[in-house]
């Protein structure tokens, strides 16, 4: 009989609940994203969103999975990294459920969960992972018992850069999809700061330069084209360095920005050049959602991990490389 885990995700703008079995079947994956009419994400508003929407989303996740709360044998939650108020709201729901149902509680690292759900879907064993979202831009690979961050942004995340630029030209959050559609109409490339430092990147200079182009009256479609080509080109270089350096033969694209088709095309090219397999997570598993937390919870549980309620404080600054990845130690 396989184990069923309910995973709760709530690190930033989205709240999600998913039910996954220990065989790796995603039985349900329900989420809702806060999309303010104007402006960005305010942590307090987002945590309010999670506490308002949470109970209904959990109920729908159980209904869609066709199970009752008594069938849940494990509760996992996104313990970090993320916005403090959002993490605390989600952790409170998870603790309550675990105690009420008398099942073990598991604290999951949000970034690690993005990698593991990608590995589940792609059947990759040991990939170089490009994790790109509104809050994170990391190039990660497993080595010596940890997921090591080979490269990351030194300032803002790729998705954040896209969102903030989108906001200045009147696009609603999240702006990535609108930028992709607008870029498709772009014709002329305008040079933007290309900032790669070893395997690290920086996107803040590009944001400033793109805003400046907008003030100078450069067509929005051309700016969107230039942003995508430059930003994704930088990421391709870093991915390439990581693949060449680690000699791994799988390349995984995960996180909300994985939905971008142009980025996917570029990274496919990188993988092909280095003879690596490529996979991008499917759209339902790309953004922040509960299934990835549930699946990683199962992996941790199987490796003997359990989090006592008394120690289950949230970890807003929990780095990807800080957790011992016990379930992968055979690698």
């Amino acid at each position: 009989m396989s184990l069923l885990c309910l995973g709760l995700e709530g690190t930033a703008h989205s709240f999600g609940a998913g039910v996954v079995s220990s065989k790796g079947e995603v039985l349900s994956n329900v989420w809702h994203m806060l999309s303010p009419a104007e402006g960005g994400i305010h942590p307090r508003e987002a945590s309010r969103h999670h506490s308002d929407m949470g109970p209904e989303i959990v109920k729908r996740a159980l209904d869609e999975a066709g199970i009752s709360h008594n069938d849940i044998q494990l509760v996992s939650f996104s313990r970090g990294p993320g916005l403090g108020p959002c993490l605390r709201t989600t952790a409170t729901m998870a603790r309550t459920l675990a105690q009420k149902l008398s099942v073990p509680l598991i604290g999951v690292n949000h970034c690690v969960a993005h990698i593991e759900i990608g590995c589940l879907e792609s059947v990759f064993e040991d990939p170089v992972t490009i994790y790109v979202s509104g809050g994170n831009t990391q190039v990660i690979a497993f080595a010596g018992g940890r997921f090591r961050t080979f490269g990351e942004t030194l300032d803002i995340a790729l998705g954040n850069m896209l969102d903030v630029f989108g906001r200045t030209i009147g696009m609603r959050f999240p702006a990535g999809p609108s930028i992709e559609r607008t870029a498709a109409k772009g014709v002329e490339y305008h040079q933007l700061p290309y900032s790669v430092k070893g395997m690290d990147l920086s996107y803040s200079g590009m944001l400033t330069a793109a805003k400046k182009l907008h003030l100078e009256g450069v067509p929005v479609a051309d700016i969107c084209l230039s942003i995508q080509e430059t930003a994704f080109g930088m990421l391709a270089e870093v991915a390439e360095r990581a693949v060449a350096h680690t000699k791994k033969d799988e390349l995984l694209l995960t996180g909300g920005v994985a939905r971008n088709n142009r980025l996917t095309e570029i990274l496919e090219g990188v993988a092909e050049r280095h003879g690596a397999s490529f996979h991008r997570v499917s759209p339902p598993l790309a953004g922040d959602q509960g299934a990835m937390i549930a699946w990683t919870g199962i992996l941790q549980h199987q490796a003997g991990d359990e989090l006592p309620i008394s120690d289950s404080h949230v970890m807003p600054k929990w780095r990807t490389d800080e957790q011992d990845i016990t379930w992968r130690c055979k690698l």
Partner: protein, 212 residues
């Protein structure tokens, strides 16, 4: 160039390195091929500027006393350089096979070379253990200068140190403390008082990453 006898040595992130027989010598040919998946203007700009930069910096840095392969031939329009082939092993390959003492002494030397460059306001731009080659006579060479820059500021030097530390953490986690300590000893030995602001900036840069 078709008559060249060549053998692929490594396929790096942005270039392919071949061993060629040329002028009766064994040399290294570094070629930056087209990346069809990139926007062609970005691709062309990067390949041209890095080839040109690499040639200049390999030569310039040698005048400072840092061993680098001599450039024999360059073709900017085809993005290729022919330079000395250094027969040896990357520092990266030596970690794990050589004794801890030897690695510490090599890192000390690496730190000194980096210090010499920084004192003359030059940064390497990608100071990883893959770009340090130790030849068969145990002489250390620095390679891969496509990201190197002159007129470096404290910020740029800080990035160099940050990248080096990052490599030790991700690739040589077992020996990272020893390697970092030895490298910094060599670096400070050469840099003196100039080291302090750079190391402080490197710490600051590290803090800018997420969740530190």
């Amino acid at each position: 160039m078709q008559t060249l006898k060549k053998q692929l040595l490594t396929l790096g992130a942005e270039s392919a390195i071949y061993i060629v027989e040329y002028w009766g010598k064994t040399l290294a040919l570094k070629w930056r091929p087209i990346k069809p998946y990139l926007h062609n203007e970005i691709d062309k700009l990067l390949r041209t500027s890095r080839t040109s930069r690499e040639c200049k910096m390999l030569t310039f840095v040698r005048t400072l006393g840092v061993p680098t392969p001599a450039v024999h031939f360059v073709d900017i329009s085809h993005h290729l350089i022919i330079m000395d082939f250094i027969e040896g092993q990357q520092l990266k390959q030596l970690v794990g096979v050589s004794s801890k003492k030897r690695i510490a002494s090599l890192c000390h030397e690496f730190g000194k070379l980096l210090g010499i460059m920084h004192l003359s306001d030059v940064v390497h731009g990608d100071p990883t253990t893959s770009n340090v080659v130790v030849d068969t006579q145990s002489k250390m060479w620095l390679v891969d200068f496509g990201l190197a820059e002159k007129n470096a500021t404290i910020e740029m030097k800080g990035v160099d140190i940050h990248l080096l530390r990052h490599t030790y953490e991700t690739t040589h986690w077992d020996l990272q403390e020893t390697m970092l300590e030895s490298t910094m000893d060599g670096y400070i030995e050469v840099s003196g008082d100039a080291a302090e602001p750079v190391l402080a900036r490197a710490d600051e840069i590290r803090e800018r990453g997420r969740y530190h």
